[in-house]
Symmetry: C2
Subunit: 381 residues, 2 copies
């Protein structure tokens, strides 16, 4: 099966060997995709089973959203409303969603997740990482991962999202469960393990235990850190060799130095800072230090109920000091790096043929037209 | 023709005589619309030519976007990009759009405007004010208003948007043209007259001349003011009895007092503050003083290229100190007041049957799900 995307006015390849600048821009291009893999980028003319006319508009690699929590039931509109009226966010609402998720049938979770995955795709996301973390017991974490596996291969076991109600005051006992029976059941269903290293959730020692156990079980490592305050999260993530440390809202100079000299991606979640009314991180400082960055949606019902990567781009450009080019790279190549996927984030020979056709002449419109869906069509993924 | 919207889980009527609170909330309602006018609100059961199933979700009055500049050609993505890199906004780019608009055929302007009106409707807007202001000569202002009239009855003559290139240094001569030949040609095509009262555009005396001439020609009055700095705009608008003064980003205590004791609506344009990286106005202060407020998109290619009223709601709640209820009122009743339209902004007997069906159980989702299109269907308008 050969797909040709033709009459591309402006193509973002993310490969400087193919086109101009860091984005590897090519004008008047076409792409040939064979069995899901890009085989050539260049002028048009190839025969195709499926010819897609980009009508002179902009095409870029499909967005890689490397941080989402899509398997949940219920919503938390009341908590959001209270927060907008002044109640600060502390993550405690995770227990509300856990209760609703445990109570939902697997069929219902499947249906809800499918709907959210579809919504994300509509906004250009072709690869989604999906975490568990609203089960918080063996049976419901397994159930969540089973659902997640139906939609992505980038599944993450997040038993260490928060201590569930029945373990409050016994965090170490809960960590025993996460690292023992729960991990054993979850590991075959997950690619990654993740932990929320934050005051009120898990401290550095507990987080380290979770990561070590996950690594021993063959999982890749990720960490939620530095969301609500400076803390040990970023440095622990770097020390343990996590693929990504996510949130990074509060970073010390030492954190930035650690990131810059590591292979760990700093993943910003600006829609969370928007919806929790936190300050935005200064991405400029992190990029200028030489660290690798990504932007992801963190779609979840508490702190960031959006699937829209374009919305995250607009916030990053307006409020985090990133250029539009940097933001576009952060949601494509950046997300791919945060998932250690060499095949994603580019439209170059050998890359996955995951493409977004904008209803706009250039990628600038992703920030220039905030709140407007400028994605016309999504190919592959 | 009778339309019944049935199985409404939560209905916003904006009529406290019908339902709970300022939003006049009614649970488990239906609405009967006869020939475009709401004839009853209450429990279901009525026969209908057209039955719309709201499936237990939230329904609210169609959004009244009382400030837009949809008749234009070209875009200003480059100016936006430069601004995000640090170049401050000064309104000068209006001349770039004027050049592109003058060069475009009327057919092309019609096609571009139709597309933008359709986009706005998709996000829930059922009434749109549309301004001229990228013609800035007699023939092209008339042409712009002719196009606007094809899409709305809320048309505004904005010859005094900026002094065009050919009049730079001769602002008073241009005001003579606006108040003379241009107004004469435009008045039959417009309901409103508007002027940009700001340093670099028109001063208080020039703005007063424009408003007085418009009033004498039978037009209602509106004013762009206090966008880039404190200035005389708000007080002039109140003094002249404008229906609305728009932007209101910088307000002195005297401005707020003047608004509170007037019939002039303070219309906030938060997507503009977003896209020009200005500070957001403190709407709380204005509402608490007792002034009437609206929120509008200001959709235009320079300072706010969005048609999404839900995006404006999300910003107002996050960054302008408004509650979600206040923001919902500001885009419905507030917009209607800013256009002095008694028939709009409510879903109560006698109101226009313009309704938005959300793909959500409550109006909170308009702020709680930023960047996501939660509008499922739009009725009427």
């Amino acid at each position: 099966m050969t797909t040709v995307i033709d009459d591309i006015g402006l193509l973002v390849t993310n490969d400087p060997a193919i086109g101009r600048g860091a984005l590897g821009l090519v004008e008047n291009a076409s792409i040939v995709i064979d069995d899901g893999v890009v085989v050539s980028v260049g002028p048009a003319g190839q025969l195709a089973d499926d010819r897609v006319d980009a009508a002179g508009r902009c095409v870029l690699p499909g967005f890689v959203d490397s941080h989402s929590h899509l398997v949940f039931a219920g919503d938390r509109a009341e908590e959001f409303t209270a927060r907008m009226a002044g109640t600060p966010y502390d993550g405690g609402g995770i227990r509300v969603t856990t209760e609703a998720t445990r109570a939902a049938s697997t069929e219902r979770l499947m249906e809800l997740t499918a709907r959210r995955v579809g919504e994300a795709r509509r906004y250009g996301t072709t690869t989604l990482e999906i975490k568990s973390g609203y089960g918080l017991n063996v049976i419901d974490e397994v159930r969540s991962l089973e659902v997640a596996n139906r939609f992505t291969s980038e599944t993450t076991f997040l038993g260490a999202h928060l201590v569930p109600s029945e373990y409050v005051g016994r965090t170490d006992d809960y960590v025993d469960l996460v690292c023992g029976e729960m991990l054993e059941a979850a590991a075959p269903l997950a690619k990654w393990i993740d932990v929320f290293c934050e005051r009120g959730a898990f401290d550095a020692d507990q987080s380290a235990r979770v990561l070590d156990a996950g690594k021993a079980a063959g999982l890749g490592l990720r960490l939620h850190g530095n969301q609500l305050s400076e803390g040990p999260g970023v440095r622990l993530a770097v020390e343990k060799g996590c693929a990504s440390v996510d949130h990074c809202t509060y970073l010390s100079d030492e954190d930035i130095e650690a990131l810059a000299s590591s292979n760990t991606v700093a993943t910003f979640l600006p829609a969370t800072d928007f919806s929790t009314r936190q300050p935005y991180p200064n991405a400029r400082r992190v990029i200028d230090a030489g660290a690798q960055v990504a932007i992801a949606s963190n779609c979840n019902p508490g702190s960031s109920y959006t699937t829209s990567v374009p919305f995250c781009i607009a916030l990053s450009v307006r409020d985090m000091g990133m250029t539009i080019e940097e933001a576009v790279q952060a949601v494509t190549l950046g997300g791919a790096r945060a998932l250690r996927r060499e095949d994603l984030g580019r439209l170059a020979p050998g890359s996955a043929g995951h493409a977004v056709i904008l209803d706009a002449p250039s990628y600038h419109h992703l920030a220039y037209r905030p709140g407007v869906d400028v994605v016309d069509r999504v190919i592959g993924g």
